[in-house]
Amino acid sequence: MTRIRRLGAAVALAVTVVWAGSGCTVIPVSGPYTVNDQGAGDPLSKPFHRMIAIKPQPNWGVDETMRGLQAAMAAYADDPSILLSYLTPEARAKWSAAGPVTVVEDAIDVVPPPPREATDPVLKVWLKGKYVARIDEDDTYTPTGGSWGQPFDLVKAPQGGFLVKSLPPGLVLTRADVRRAYRPTNLYYLNRSLQDRLVVDRVRLRLKTTESFAQTVLERLLKPPTATLKDAVTSSLPEGTTIESIRSGEGGERVVVNLSGPLDLSSRDALRAQIKYSLNMNDVAKGRTIEIQANGEPYTTALANTDETWLDDSGKTAYYVTKGAIHYLSKDGPGGVVAGAAGEQRDGYSDFAVSKEENGNSLVAAKTSTGISVAAMVPQGRWQEVIHGKGADFTAPTWHRDGSLWTYDRKNSVLLRYDPSSGRGAEPVEAPNLAGLDVTRLRIARDGVRVMVMTGRNTVQISALTGEGPQMKLGNLRALTTTNEADKIIDVKWGDEEHLLVLVQSQAGHILTEINVGDGESTGVPLTERLQSVAALGDRVLAETDKGAKLLELNQDRQTWTPKIDSDGGAPLFPLG
């Protein structure tokens, strides 16, 4: 009994000490326990800052007034009233902000009138700078160059300072203004002919203070694509669709998009893909489940981190060509020759192109002296000439993702399309934009819509395959880049659906540039050796060094190269592109 009592007293004392100790502790030591993830900020918006314009001050001179006017143009979308306060009533009535936005370099010069005109009632002041780009009304960002200058008429304001009496229509922004208030944005539409893959459309969208960036993106997605993709793509968001609301829920883990309008049940997957990619690829709602509602009712849900096939390039096998024989390129180096005739060494075959993989098999096309031949990469595969003519008259063959082979007959100025499944020969495709042009290269992108057209030896243009079926034609031709006269473009290949790799031989050496076909933004890739040809698939870039001795692969840092084959390498190849 005494022992039990002592034991009880000891337990009571221990409990009291523990209780008192934990009671005195502000944050008791504890764990492990499951912690609920809190949403990392607003998944629908992007932080940004913007210009705050101020009204013209009575003590300002011409220079301050013109800079204030330009700042007011930068803030015009947020607060139009400030810009109007710089204008005389007459100018207010005439001037309109509509039209393309002119983008100039940050260093703008205000050129006042000569001293002898300084006493005139109307002062003509010039804004001068370097032309950078133009943002069209369809949000296309088109880089331009050259010098820029516009005249402005100023009059003295009754209360002091100056007012603008006349000015050119449209807004003038500096590069910094655009960088501050605009975001390069990828919109995704469906390729028109197959509707099995998304096509990216690059635009510059202005951030708005009154709505989230997600709303801005989706509002733009409801509109038609830019002029470069006109008639080349379609959208699963039918005309008349409106966005009722976009909100994030469940601690930011879920984003709910409520649409209204004549939504089609059959295009549910495509609509989901368009919205998901248009948001996620612009770092909006990334890693979140996107629930799409139609008129408040659940329509479809895009789960986070699911890999859908809407950007699938259909084949990631890398090849290289040595002495006319096509070899596989494995992870560690040479992977052996391909099966069939394509794997045999053969002279006179050049400009190889591999088609999209179908059931693990691909076709390879090559230019010969008598035309263009095709072979299947199977044991029984034999070369078969499908387009006849003088090989030098054709551009290098290129495969479309629908399985057709394309080339441009420079002699007859006709674009040819050969469909192996049709059983017919090569058929001409209408390409009115190419008439009269010296087409030297033509490559169809992996999205099946965009087409790179190289004219002459140093100009790259982008066009698109518009229409479908028999009405398909090559249109929407637009200049992308050009080099100095003395330079020469050695090779051009598609990287991913929006980037072109352009290998230029200049007097200073070889230059490899990655160009975004949407807005012309280019990124240089440093080279350690002279290259002869390149091939790319997404982030993976292979290059053949001069003389074909080595095969290099660009590392993930996009700065250094790793040799894959040290000797007896050759021109690298990826399916399509």
């Binding site: 913007r50 260093a107 910094a176």
Partner: protein
């Protein structure tokens, strides 16, 4: 004039309504006060509730203020720290590049990009490698165009006016290091409702150019507000729970204490009502158990004493009864002898004749005293019974007056009769009622000082009443009840003139009580007195009132005239007016 009348009528109605409301409130307050005074339980629980509410409110307020200060101050400190860091960044960025060759080299590849944009990229998290910030920033330079920036949707109009003015004053006074804070609900563009924000305003002064940048930081305080709202809710809920818990505890504790006290009270009441065998249950050994023990002992002792007193009283009554009976036999003999002597007194010498007359008179008095003693013994023994008969009370009154006329003539007193025309039938014992009336009339004659004696008979549906009014010296205060005590006399030195025994009014009251009636007295010195006998028409039924007023109507009327504020004549009835606690001056009065 009709409108005036209408107005008056409305005013009267309003007054009546107000009066009604006031009366109801007063009645409710009275009821509440009564419940409050009577219930110890309620007092304990209410007091505990009130005190605990006060304590909880005071402690809760103090606690909330402490938490509030801690949360808000720590948030303000961290916020102003971030704001200071940002201002330093801005100042560093805006400083001329020549001051910092390293920065000049850095900025070379950015071309002519505004350093303000670069630093705003970092501050707002707009840059790809920067982290998103929880607050908004506004940089204002009102002198240089294109040098003002704002993050996200914040606008210059969102800055509190007071803060703006304070900052501009600091600029005028060259106090560039002074930072000003402001907490205000602000609605930014795109927000559906205002949010509580802590706005910190500071100045970045660029020395070489002399430019001043007003830098405002908008820190959201909604999380702190939510936290403090939850804390406040928790304190309120816990406080409420605590108060209710304390009330419940007080209820239980009070119940433990009050219940035995209540049982003791009920037992004491029953004991007081005559249930001498009432006892409390004793549980345990605590104070309440000891109280119960003491109560039980007290009750037992009380019962014993009462029993002893009853026995003693019984013995005394028996003794009186026995003595009365025993005295009657020798008295009869003495009476017979005295009668003989009295009859033969004319043959005696004058002294002996006078002695015989005196003896005869005292013997008569002795005899009637014995009769009264025997009668009252019967009452004490509970042996008195009624011989009920339905009679007209007027006849009884007339008979009693007839019996008293001889005495009245001797005192030169006249009777004034006020009898109703209708018969006043009642079930009464004729003999006893007549005796009561006789006693009252004899009393009135003796103390009426020769003035008129007014005899009034009244009747209503339930009762009949007879009032005998004299205009003698009256009764003093308190004597109106003492007159019915046995052998009581107002002035002991005063001799009895009509040879009363001192038991007349006591027997009369017993007679009235035996009928289920009342016998009450009223008197004032110099105003005379009035005795009122009230009897139920049906024997055994309870009396609810008397048809006649105890206070004579003329006295009541005079009093009303003298004291009333409003000239309203009150009815002269007012049963029990002499028993409502009003102090009357009463002259000394003794029974017959």
């Amino acid at each position: 004039m009709p409108p005036t009348r209408k107005k008056r009528s409305r005013r009267r109605t309003l007054r009546q309504i107000l009066g009604g409301v006031r009366r109801r409130i007063r009645r409710a307050a009275g009821r509440t006060r009564s419940i409050w005074r009577r219930s110890l339980h309620l007092q304990v629980v209410t007091s505990t509730l009130v005190i605990s509410v006060i304590v909880v409110v005071v402690l809760g307020t103090f606690l909330f203020q402490q938490i509030n200060n801690s949360v808000v101050q720590s948030s303000q400190q961290s916020s102003s720290g971030e704001a200071t860091a940002d201002r330093l960044r801005i100042a560093d960025a805006l400083a001329p590049e020549t001051d910092d060759p390293a920065k000049a080299a850095d900025g070379g590849d950015k071309g002519a990009a505004d350093p303000l944009d670069d630093v705003m990229d970092t501050i707002t998290g707009s840059r790809d490698d920067a982290s998103e910030k929880r607050y908004e920033v506004l940089v204002l330079n009102l002198t240089n165009p294109g040098k003002s920036r704002a993050s996200n949707s914040v606008e210059p109009a969102n800055v509190p006016v007071g803060l703006r003015l304070s900052l501009q004053r600091n600029i005028r006074e060259y106090k560039y290091d002074k930072t000003v804070g402001f907490i205000q609900s602000i609605r930014l563009a795109g927000e559906s409702q205002p949010q509580l924000r802590f706005v910190v305003g500071g100045i970045v002064h660029v020395l070489p150019t002399g430019e001043n940048y007003e830098v405002y930081h908008f820190f959201p305080f909604n999380e702190e507000e939510e936290l403090l709202t939850n804390v406040r809710l928790a304190i309120v809920v816990v406080g409420l729970g605590l108060v209710l818990l304390l009330a419940a505890i007080a209820y239980l504790v009070a119940r433990q204490v009050v219940s035995p006290v209540r049982l003791a009270r009920e037992a004491a009441e029953r004991l007081a009502a005559g249930k001498l065998d009432e006892r409390l249950k004793v549980r345990g050994e605590d104070d309440l158990a000891r109280l119960a023990n003491s109560f039980n002992e007290m009750a037992a002792n009380l019962a014993l004493k009462i029993h002893q007193l009853e026995e003693l009283s019984q013995v005394q009554r028996q003794f009186v009864s026995d003595v009365s009976h025993e005295l009657r036999t020798p008295l009869t003999t003495v009476r017979m002898a005295a009668d003989l002597l009295y009859d033969a007194r004319e043959d005696f010498d004058p002294m002996a004749a006078r002695s015989a007359e005196l003896m005869q008179a005292q013997l008569e008095r002795f005899e009637s005293m014995l009769t009264d003693l025997l009668e009252i013994s019967r009452y004490d023994a509970g042996a008195a019974t009624l011989d009920l008969d339905s009679v007209d009370v007027r006849d009884v009154v007339l008979r009693a007056i007839g019996d008293s006329e001889a005495l009245a003539e001797r005192h030169t007193t006249r009777f004034e009769l006020r009898l109703p025309n209708e018969p006043c039938m009642a079930e009464i014992d004729n003999r006893r009622v007549e005796r009561i009336l006789r006693n009252l009339l004899f009393n009135a004659i003796e103390h009426g000082e020769g003035r008129d004696v007014v005899v009034t008979v009244g009747a209503d549906r339930d009762a009949v009443a007879v009032a005998v009014r004299d205009h003698g010296i009256g009764l003093k205060a308190g004597e109106d009840t003492m007159v019915f005590d046995r052998f009581w006399r107002a002035d002991p030195s005063r001799a009895r003139t009509i040879g009363g025994t001192g038991l007349g009014l006591a027997i009369s009251r017993e007679d009235a009580t035996l009928h289920g009636g009342w016998l009450q007295a009223w008197g004032q010195p110099g105003e005379g007195s009035q005795f009122r006998l009230t009897l139920p028409r049906v024997a055994g039924s309870d009396l609810k009132g008397s048809p006649l007023s105890l206070v004579p109507p003329e006295i009541e009327m005079r009093r009303t005239w003298r004291t009333a504020m409003t000239p309203v004549l009150l009815p002269a009835s007012g049963d029990g007016a002499g028993f409502d606690g009003t102090a009357y001056d009463r002259a000394g009065y003794d029974e017959d």
